[in-house]
Symmetry: C2
Subunit: 359 residues, 2 copies
C-alpha cells in the first residue's frame, strides 16, 4: 500500500509539528503550514485515511492527530530529511571531542556527556562486549612491597592496579612474573585462565607468596569487566524537561530502568549491522521503554571491536537532528579510537543508512 505524495507530505507535517510542539496537531494547522494549497477539510479527509491506515491516532475523538509508532517508522525510513549539522554544531562537537580525547578509559563515557549535551536527551554509551584478551602485561616495581600492574587489552585500553604487599619482593621476581605472564597469559580469554595455568605459572616463577594469583585475579577481573561491557548513562535529568515525562511515576520508571547498566546493555536487542538504528516505542524489547524511542549509533573501537552510543527520548523525538548528531559523534569517536576509523569525511548523511529494524 503506497502512500500518495500528498499523504506523505501531510504525514511528514504532522510528525514534524508534533515533534516540535508535543501537542496533537489539527487539520487547520496543517492546511496553513504544510505548503499544500488545499483547505482544512481536504486535509481532514486525508488525515482520516492516514488514521485508518494506522499511521496516525487520536488521543480522543475531538483532538488533533498524533503519529503512531508505525507513523514514526515511515517518517524515519522515508520521509525525514537527515538534518545537516550547522557549521557551529560540527565545530562544537569537534572541539569537545578534542577536549575529551584523553584518558582512554574515561573517553567513552565522556562522549556520552557530549551526546547528551548536544541532543538534550539522556545519552548512553556501551563499550564493545567482546571476548577480549590481554595483549601485554607490564609490572612496574615501585618499592620492595609495592608494584603496579599495567595491562593493555586487545581493544587497546589500558588498565592498571597498584598492589601493596604485606611482605617484600625482589625486583628480579617482579621481572620474572612479568616474563611469565606475557608468555602464558596473553591472548587468552577470561575462561581460559584456569587454576592449572596459574599453578603452572607459579612453578615457572618460583612464586610461593601468591603473587601469581594476585596478578591472575587482576587479569580475570579486568577481562570480565570488559566482557560484562561498560555501560553508562549521562544527562538523565534531561528527561524531566520533556512534557511526556511530567508524570513523575513515568519518569521514574524510565530513569530507574536506565540507571541499571545491565538494562542499558540489553537495550539494543540483537546486534545490528547498520551504522544507525532507530527503535521506536513498542519496537523496544523492554516494557519500560514502550513509550520511548532509542537511537543508537555504532562506533569502531579499533581491532574490529565496536561500541554503541545512543540517546533515549520520547517517541516524539527529534529523529533527524539526533540521528545526524549521533552519527557525527560516533564517527569522530571511531576516528579517535581506531586511528583510522571513519571512512567518510562526514558520516554518510542520507536515507540509505537507516534501515528498518522490525522485519
Amino acid at each position: 500500500m503506497e502512500l500518495s505524495e500528498r499523504k506523505k507530505k501531510i504525514l511528514a507535517a504532522v510528525v514534524d509539528e508534533y515533534i516540535a510542539t508535543a501537542e496533537p496537531v489539527g487539520s487547520k494547522h496543517i492546511a496553513e503550514k504544510s505548503g499544500l494549497e488545499v483547505s482544512s477539510a481536504t486535509i481532514r479527509n486525508e488525515l482520516a485515511e492516514l488514521t485508518t491506515m494506522g499511521y496516525l491516532q487520536q488521543p480522543h475523538t475531538s483532538a488533533g492527530r498524533v503519529p503512531t509508532a508505525q507513523g514514526y517508522r515511515i517518517y524515519v525510513n522515508e520521509l525525514m530529511q537527515m538534518q545537516k549539522l550547522s557549521e557551529e554544531e560540527t565545530q562544537a562537537i569537534n572541539r569537545s571531542l578534542d577536549d575529551r580525547l584523553r584518558q582512554l578509559d574515561r573517553l567513552v563515557s565522556d562522549v556520552g556527556k557530549l551526546a547528551a549535551e548536544m541532543t538534550n536527551y539522556p545519552a548512553l554509551t556501551l563499550t564493545a562486549k567482546a571476548p577480549s584478551t590481554v595483549k601485554r602485561f607490564d609490572l612496574i616495581y615501585v618499592d620492595s612491597n609495592t608494584f603496579i600492574i599495567v595491562a593493555m587489552l586487545s581493544d587497546n585500553t589500558v588498565k592498571n592496579k597498584l598492589v601493596h604487599l604485606p611482605f617484600s619482593v625482589e625486583q628480579s621476581m617482579v621481572q620474572k612474573l612479568s616474563t611469565v605472564f606475557n608468555a602464558s597469559f596473553t591472548g587468552i580469554t577470561e575462561e581460559q585462565i584456569s587454576p592449572i595455568l596459574i599453578s603452572s605459572a607459579e612453578r615457572s616463577t618460583g612464586d610461593t607468596m601468591g603473587l601469581t594469583a594476585v596478578i591472575a585475579a587482576f587479569a580475570i577481573e579486568i577481562l570480565s569487566e570488559e566482557k560484562a561491557a561498560q555501560a553508562a548513562l549521562s544527562g538523565g535529568a534531561k528527561l524531566l524537561q520533556l512534557p511526556e515525562f511530567r508524570d513523575p511515576d513515568k519518569a521514574h520508571k524510565v530513569m530507574d530502568y536506565l540507571s541499571d547498566a545491565e538494562h542499558l546493555y540489553n537495550l539494543p536487542g540483537m546486534d545490528f549491522g547498520d551504522d544507525l538504528k532507530v527503535l521506536i516505542g513498542p519496537e523496544n524489547i523492554a516494557e519500560e521503554l514502550k513509550d520511548s524511542s532509542v537511537i543508537l549509533a555504532k562506533y569502531n573501537a579499533g581491532d574490529g571491536m565496536q561500541g554503541i552510543i545512543g540517546v533515549v527520548g520520547p517517541t516524539r523525538m527529534d529523529y533527524s537532528s539526533v540521528a545526524a548528531k549521533l552519527s557525527y559523534i560516533a564517527d569522530g569517536l571511531s576516528k579517535a579510537l581506531s586511528g583510522s576509523g571513519g571512512d567518510k569525511a562526514l558520516p554518510g548523511f542520507g536515507k540509505l543508512m537507516i534501515k528498518d529494524t522490525n522485519e
Copy 2:
C-alpha cells in the same frame, strides 16, 4: 531558651513521624504514639509553643505541624538517636565494599552507588582536591610507534595513557624520556610545569619530535584533573520516588544542579573539621538546594588526603539512618584506601560526632 523534656519528646515525635510519612502530623496522632500520657489538647498547647519558638510550622491553619529547618537542626543535634545498623546492614555493606575494592580509579564512584543503594537517596562522591604531584613516571614501549605512559600520583592513584605516534621512536629514546621525566617532573605541581622546564627536558633527551611535550601535557592533564577533583552522582533517579519531588520542575531543578560536577564540588561549602556534616535546607549555600538536605561524611584517602561521600534528599530525610550508614561506609572506605584509616571498629555512633554547622 532550653526546651522542657516534654517539648523535646514531642518535637522528636513530630520529626520522626513526618520523616516516616511526609504528612503534617496532628496532635491526636502524637498523643497516641509518643508514649506521653497526656491528652491531645495538652499536646496542642505544646505544639503551639514549639511553633512560636520556630521549630515547627503549619502549612495552613488547619493542618498538622511540619518541622522547620531549625526544628530539624535541634533534632539532629540533640534529639535523634544515631541508628545502630543491623547485622544484615553492616554485612551487606561489608560485602559490597569488598566487591568494589578493585580498580583504584573507579572505587570511589562505585562506593557512591553503594551509598545510594543503601540509603535510597542519590549519593555523591568527591575525591580530595589536593595539589597532587606525580611520584613516578613509567613509559612502556609497545611498538615502534606506540607507548604507554603510566604515572603514579602522590595520592597513589595510577593513571595511564596510550600514545600512538605518526612516526617511529626507538626504545632507547623512550627510556631516556622516562629517566628525564622521573628526574625533573616528579614531585612538582601542575603550576610548576613550565615551558622552560619542558624545553630543558627536550634538550636533555634530544627529543625533536615533540614527545616531551606530549608527556608533559599528559602530566598537566592528570594533575589538573586531580586538582579539579572528581565528583560523581549516583542513583539520581531515586529522587523521583520521594513525594517532595513529585513536582517534575522541582525534581528537574535539583537533579540538573546535581549533575554538574562543578556544583557537586561546591556543595560542602567551606571545608569542615568533623567526620560528619549535616546541611539542612536553607543551610545549603546553593539556592537550588534550599529545600533539600545534604549529609556528608569524610573519608581518608591515605597520605593525609580526604574525600567526601554524601547523600542528598529532602529536608524530611531519615537523618539517623542515613548518617549511620554513611559513617560506616566512609570508615570502610578509609580503611580500604589508606590501609589503616578507620581508627574505630565502628564509626563512633553517638551524638558527639555531629556538630552544629551554622554558628
